[in-house]
Amino acid sequence: MSAPRLTVAVVYPDLLGTYGDGGNGLVLARRAAWRHVEVELVSATSDRPLPRADLYTVGGGEDGPQVRAAIGLAEDGTLADAVAEGAVVLGVCAGYQLLGRAFPDSADRPHDGLGLLDVTTRKGTGRRAVGELVAAVADAGPRLPGGGGLPRLTGFENHGGVSVVGPGARPLARVERGVGNGGGDGTEGAWSGRVIGTYLHGPVLARNTALADLLLAWALTPPGAAPEDEARLAPLDDHEELALRAERLEAVGGARDGGRWARVAARLPRRC
């Protein structure tokens, strides 16, 4: 049997590349290659048609570029087609918001999202959410191949938007520290089918390798496959990532929510 193949596309890094989220694509590509998957990592800039890929990552960015990215992806149509055929998508911050039904533009008017997640984002009225975020993956969250749940998520959030998860999607996680979706229900992120959205930077997949492997397993499993046919990934030596996770969780455990930096940041302009 030939080696499995995988294409990972980082969507519009020229517009949505402000927060180091391009690292998610690198983490996915390396973790696939280390398991002898033949992987192609594509930097899919906004000046050309979006290529077909098995796995897309959409990163954070400023308000103006976020609107341009949403318009470009809607006109291009490839991302929605790919999702309908089983492609996997990870959206972060501005990328998460534009996967939803609507998000605020730089003048706080609602702008159409791609509608790939039943999530609606509006401008928050309170302080901007800036800081470390820890969230426990919800019971209704995605399951790892074999049926296990994901461990807690850790990352850095930096957003002014408030996201409400509609009935067509489910919250990804429950906030333990930080703000997350910010709508008062204590949730963070959303997921539906093979599409996941989150506010976590870091990048999120460098700090949460189980989530990276879940996305890889989905991308390597044909849609509709029986549970016994789901791709199983060989374990990797993740001691450095685990040490980083432990250190970040410990750092947040010793700090209070909000605090000085959240107040300073609340005076700064919105980014996503």
């Binding site: 590349g17 927060y19 103006g64 450095e240 700064l268």
Partner: protein, 420 residues
Amino acid sequence: MAATAVSAVNGLSRALGRGSGTVAGGRAGLLLDPSLLATLAGDRTVALVSGTNGKTTTTRLLVAAADGSPGTVVTNDTGANMPAGHVAALAEAPGAGLAVLEVDEGYLGRLVEETRPAVVVLLNLSRDQLDRIAEVRMLVDRWRGALAGLAPADRGPGTVVVANADDPMVVWAALPAPEVRWVGAGQVWHDDAVGCPACGGRIAFADDGAWACDRCGFARPDRDAWLDGDDLVLADGARHRIRLALPGRFNRANAAMVAVAATPLLAAAGRPAGPAAVLDRLSGVTEVAGRFATVTVGGRPVRMLLAKNPAGWTAIFDLLEETSAPGTAVVCSVNARTADGLDTSWLWDVPFERLAGRPVVATGDRRLDVGVRLRYAEVPHAVVADPRDALLHALAGPGAGDGVECLANYTAFDDLRRRR
């Protein structure tokens, strides 16, 4: 009265051991008199230097270019580059007729308004401190608004803007200024300038540094001077060799900016000097607040290099390729304290892959983030908690025959300077 208070508070602050006092005194003075900065600037000849990277070094070089006798040139060389720091520096040197001030990007408009500078030097603009500094585009618009109101130099005391023509963000900001000298100083980081600031189109960069928007015609202006290898080339064809003790291409670029800026600045100050004379004065600068200095740790040489953001790290990697023997060990020390920015995601915008082939040691508060980044760059590395131990570890390992290179971000650099 307020100026006296600045000196008094500075002296008190120093006496109490609460630091150099530069910011405390300045803050107190500004509270007593909000117009103090304008008052202290008075009729001095002022140069302002701003940009994301290189402002401290360029400020230091411009002071060297001024070649003033003691007490005639004042500068804020303690890193305090906001108005409180400017006030403190100016208050301490009432007799200095020439002021060369490093300015935080966010305060350029206020400094331009209050100090009526003879020269404004604009180096570059790129992403920095994700969690707390305004977006690049917002800064550009604020710069542009401030520079549009300048008076031209040929009508009495006006302002010459010296701007990096190779950075589209800087060009967009400087275009409305009445008098601009465009310098092709190069740009290592294009990722924050792909979207055209004029029309939202796409800016394409050629290999030779030229750039243009594909939609609206916004393009690199005709340059008055540019860096070509080791030479400063003027539009009239004159070439001047840049000989610096400071290493690397980006320092030659900083020197090129200084050579062009010094001419109108020194003319305004009443002691004109041409580019060749100015460049000669720069070779005596061997370090800038410890940056580029070679120190000894455990009796062995360590070169100290500061890098704070993706553009800065990329420039330092260029410097290593130019000036450091292949295989020389590198220590990377990264913190994420207030002055550094709390979010370390930027590490993934830094091309750590370029360290392949060198022994690497990660240290600093956020060494684990650096270690994970290096793992995905497939660069073998060690992780050592204590920065000094990390240097000793690197010095004891391979690639340390001629010493090691130490790359550190802001507070990590300060830590190492103080603890050696």
